[in-house]
């Protein structure tokens, strides 16, 4: 009886986790002062991320399209699929280094990491569920009220806390220990081929895929011919501004080795196809990135060197981090 009383009066004391900014990296966009990370919040987010309870028929979880071993994206699928074998309209993006992002999704429809999960949860071709139903399902599960209480001091589950927990977990997806990073820190050295590739990268790719995040977190039209089966106008669909026609989010190149297929509709299966596009496949348009007006001149050898460099962006520590994988 005394034990029950004692636990009833246990104070809510989550364990704060300090977000580590890699050396030399810019400040994150996310306000960690306003929404600090806690061990309990991250753990709850992790359980939710891998739980298909978020979907209408309990078959699709976040991890279904965002698998940790493949840069938190969905490989081998040009367009992601969801409940009832539905096929969506876009390729899933790699979730990594999101603390530095100021918008989410290929068209930037989402303005804050905390509200991103609403899009796939609600989309009929992804998880097809309504948020109030998710909250109710979780409330009826044996362990979730306890986990929510540990993370937020309240065993009554709310949409807000569910979203905040998912965000906390995703904010921990920091990839900063690829071979490239070790070279920059002086802990390793590029091979001659990788060094040539890095020079080519800095000459031709760095303006959009800016180091160290390998994206400048903006939208661009990279000259892809429009796919008439999708007619995806990208950012313009959200901003309603003609200047944004055919512009899509510049994705990170980190772990690009593992995040195939490439582009917003997954049209390229191999990196060589991507480079061929930049070399000779660019379609001119008023909104085309100015850096691509004349394409990118690359010889066959240069393409191989560039790909060798891109492979140095693979961060095996991140990809195989068991703290980010399915919770046991």
């Amino acid at each position: 009886m005394l034990f029950i009383v004692a636990t009833a009066f246990k104070t809510f004391k989550p364990n704060k986790v300090e977000f580590q900014i890699p050396d030399g990296w810019p400040k994150p966009h996310f306000d960690f002062k306003k929404s600090p990370l806690t061990k309990e919040g991250i753990y709850l987010g992790r359980k939710l991320f891998y739980d298909a309870i978020l979907s209408v028929n309990n078959t699709i979880s976040c991890a279904s399209c965002h698998l940790s071993y493949t840069a938190f994206t969905h490989v081998d699928h040009a367009l992601s699929h969801g409940v009832y074998d539905s096929i969506g309209t876009r390729n899933s993006l790699a979730i990594l280094n999101v603390a530095w992002s100021n918008s989410f999704m290929w068209d930037g429809a989402i303005n804050h990491i905390e509200v991103q999960a609403l899009a796939p949860i609600n989309h009929p071709l992804e998880m097809g569920e309504e948020l109030p139903n998710v909250v109710q399902k979780l409330q009826n599960e044996r362990e979730y009220p306890r986990l929510f209480n540990a993370a937020f001091g309240d065993s009554t589950i709310t949409g807000q806390n569910l979203l905040k927990a998912l965000a906390q977990f995703q904010l921990t997806f920091v990839s900063s220990n690829a071979k490239y990073d070790k070279v920059v820190r002086g802990e390793d050295a590029f091979t001659e081929q990788e060094e040539r590739g890095y020079k080519l990268f800095k000459a031709h790719c760095n303006s959009c895929h800016k180091e160290p995040l390998f994206t400048k977190n903006q939208f661009a039209n990279n000259g892809l011919p429009i796919d008439s089966t999708l007619n995806d106008v990208g950012r313009m669909g959200i901003s309603l501004n003609a200047e944004d026609s055919l512009k899509f989010k510049i994705p990170t190149l980190r772990n690009i080795e593992f995040s195939f297929p490439y582009m917003h509709d997954g049209r390229f299966r191999k990196l060589s196809e991507v480079l061929n596009h930049y070399q000779k496949g660019i379609v001119q348009s008023p909104t085309l990135a100015k850096e691509l007006r004349n394409g990118i001149a690359l010889t066959s050898n240069e393409k191989v060197d560039l790909i060798a460099f891109l492979l140095t962006l693979s961060d095996k520590e991140f990809l195989f981090n068991q703290e980010l994988a399915f919770p046991r």
């Binding site: 929404s35 429809a109 989402i110 303005n111 804050h112 990491i113 905390e114 509200v115 609403l118 899009a119 949860i121 609600n122 989309h123 948020l131 109030p132 909250v135 709310t158 949409g159 807000q160 806390n161 979203l163 905040k164 965000a167 959200i238 901003s239 309603l240």
Partner: protein, 224 residues
């Protein structure tokens, strides 16, 4: 002596009238919704100005940054956002916690959620996304939601849905409202909004844009 009594009597009547015609309230602001002056009842059959039948199945909107005034003096302030939902009558009554009775005859508020809040991630309370007033496909709040059926709609089941939202320039839809208050009540006269709608041509407005912005401005003028 008799004359003095008479003037005292009239003085008392005068004071009484003064008190009863000034707004003296106990810190409660009520948002009423009327159609042609009558309280709106969900799913009741109504007639529009061309005598077409229609029903309202849902009506809710956000109000925030509420300032109460007595003449030109600010006497009360609530920075929180409240979801006024006619399906939940308790939501239509906002209590201001004060130690002495609150007297006010004007109110200023914002119809809709501002841009800063719309960029702040997952919010709670009346702003929790489980309230069905948040766009999952395009971050931002639905400031004003009116749903129902109208005889002239060509849509499935003759249903109409006006979800007015959007915070990004130039399609920001949150609007400031300033209206007098009688007996602590503000009324939203729905007929003024319904008369602006084109049920036969446009049964749905469900994304940010020119139309949402224009209808939001119209909605703001319906408060009386």
């Amino acid at each position: 002596m008799y004359k003095g009594l008479k003037s005292t009597f009239f003085l008392c009547v005068g004071i009484f009238l003064l008190i009863s015609f000034s707004s003296s309230n106990s810190g409660e602001l009520k948002f009423l919704v009327t159609y042609n002056g009558q309280p709106l009842v969900l799913n009741d059959t109504l007639l529009d100005e061309d005598s077409n039948q229609f029903t309202i199945s849902a009506f809710r909107f956000y109000v925030g940054e509420i300032k109460l005034f007595y003449n030109e003096f600010e006497v009360g302030y609530d920075s929180n956002y409240h979801l006024i939902d006619i399906e939940k009558p308790q939501s239509q009554s906002l209590i201001f916690n004060t130690d002495k009775p609150l007297k006010f005859n004007k109110v200023e508020f914002v119809l809709g959620v501002d841009s800063a809040t719309s960029n702040s991630g997952a919010m709670g309370g009346d702003l929790d996304p489980t309230k069905g007033m948040y766009w999952t496909w395009n971050s931002g709040y639905i400031n004003f939601k009116l749903e129902g059926r109208h005889a002239k709609c060509y849509s499935r089941n003759k249903e109409f849905a006006y979800h007015l939202g959007g915070y990004a320039s130039p399609f920001a839809t949150a609007v400031a409202v300033r209206v007098p208050v009688k007996n602590g009540e503000v009324s939203f006269e729905l007929s003024d909004f319904v008369n602006e709608l084109q049920f036969n041509a446009e049964p749905r407005v469900m994304s940010p844009g020119i139309r949402a912005k224009s209808l939001s401005k119209t909605a703001a003028t319906c408060f009386k």
